[in-house]
Amino acid sequence: MTSEWPLWEVFIRSQHGLAHKHAGSLHASDAEMAMKNARDVYTRRNEGVSIWVVKSADVVASAPGDREALFDPANDKVYRHPTFFPMPDEVKHI
């Protein structure tokens, strides 16, 4: 009988990091073990102050084929960037 433990994705927030960042994955039988293993494998050199573990099977990812449909529409909306609006030199703090 195969007894392969489920796969988990590990996210770490570093000391000065603003958000959790994907660090890698590991196998564990449950959440508690995933947390312990994540600590042992991904924070041996003070890489983090906070860990998230998520079952890989629960991650919903965008498909490579949907890249254009999802991301191209942002290309022609340059007005979403502040640089789209030139400001006169005399106007300060804006």
Binding site: T2, G24, L26, S29, D30, D40, V41, R44, A63, P64
Partner: protein, 331 residues
């Protein structure tokens, strides 16, 4: 290297005229240094070759713990023991990062481990040599990890995203490994005459196997040429070996040790060291299973795997039982 003579399953390099439009688009992205990610389309040969290469690499990290583990209980001081354990623990982590990278290509961890135990997939030739005394731990860190770094730094730029990211993590950790080895060598070379002789003896035994780690010249190899087009191999075996020699010989001189190669000489014109011939018959024999420790390494790995079977099953049964209890309580 940690992955030696990786077979692409092809007998000639695929040129653009033989490629489907999909394959051409794939190669164009690689040429443009766009990373390939797990869910992207990729040619089957690319996927298969990567699985083989990453798997060999992972097995090498794991089996590489065995020669060093041999000296944990006999480290000369508590400090050296703690350092060695930290180093070996890193190698377990390296194995795990790499197995994870291979798993993104659609293979299971258990299958990868079965392949190792069945002798279907190799690990690096270097780990079939024995660690006879403490100086060997110094020589391994200095030479073997040094050679590994040489190979792994270019791989941080390889075309497959998960493999490249694993390499970045690994390279960050490796330089501690090489330095702790050199530190052991320095301590022994500054010690008594007997200690220095042990250091020399370790260099004598590990020098040639370390050069063999890079594998035979692959200037003519179809597999290497194809792997280079795919950017899962960045530099030739000879190129990496030369870099290693150029970097290591002055370090041996600093230690006051003699490199065991009577033909070794500095070529001022090329700016490189020239070395004597490598005994490739020995390398081939080790790959075929006739190194000093081949059988022992696999036996120990299998034992550890089999002895852990009930733990893996019990942990899973426990997790299932708890999940059931929780869902019943919630209902």
């Amino acid at each position: 290297m940690y992955a030696q003579m990786v077979d692409t399953g092809l007998n000639k390099v695929v040129d653009a005229s033989q490629m489907s439009p999909q394959e051409q688009a794939f190669q164009a992205r690689i040429d443009a240094d766009v990373k390939v990610e797990p869910r992207d389309w990729m040619p089957e040969a690319y996927r298969r070759t990567l699985v083989r290469q990453i798997q060999q690499h992972a097995h090498s990290e794991v089996v590489g713990q065995l020669p060093e583990g041999n000296w944990v209980t006999r480290a000369p001081t508590l400090k050296r023991k703690a350092i060695l354990m930290a180093k070996i623990q890193d190698e377990a982590g390296h194995g795990l990062y790499l197995y994870s990278a291979a798993e993104t290509l659609g293979v299971s961890r258990d299958d990868l481990i079965d392949d190792l135990h069945a002798g279907k997939v190799k690990y690096s030739s270097i780990f079939n040599y024995p660690t006879l005394n403490w100086a060997d731990i110094g020589a391994i860190g200095w030479l073997v990890d040094g050679a590994a770094i040489m190979n792994q730094i270019p791989l941080c730029r390889c075309s497959y995203g998960p493999y490249a990211r694993a390499m970045v993590r690994i390279c960050k950790e490796e330089s501690f490994h090489q330095r702790q080895g050199f530190d052991i060598m320095m301590a022994m070379c500054r010690g008594s005459a007997d200690q220095k002789a042990m250091a020399q003896d370790a260099l004598d035994r590990w020098w040639w196997p370390s050069l063999m780690m890079f594998g035979p010249s692959d200037a003519e190899s179809v597999h290497s040429a194809q792997s280079m087009r795919w950017k899962i191999k960045l530099l030739s075996n000879d190129e990496l070996r030369q870099r290693f020699v150029d970097q290591t010989v002055p370090q041996a001189e600093y230690l006051g040790l003699r490199v065991p190669d009577p033909a070794l000489r500095w070529n001022a014109q090329s700016g490189h060291y020239e070395t004597g011939p490598i005994d490739w018959a020995e390398f081939q024999a080790v790959l075929r299973g006739h190194g000093p420790c081949n059988r022992d390494r696999i036996r120990v790995r299998k034992e550890a795997w089999d002895d852990g079977q009930w733990v893996r099953e019990a942990a899973m049964a426990h997790a299932r039982k708890r999940a059931e209890r929780e869902s019943r309580a919630a209902a």
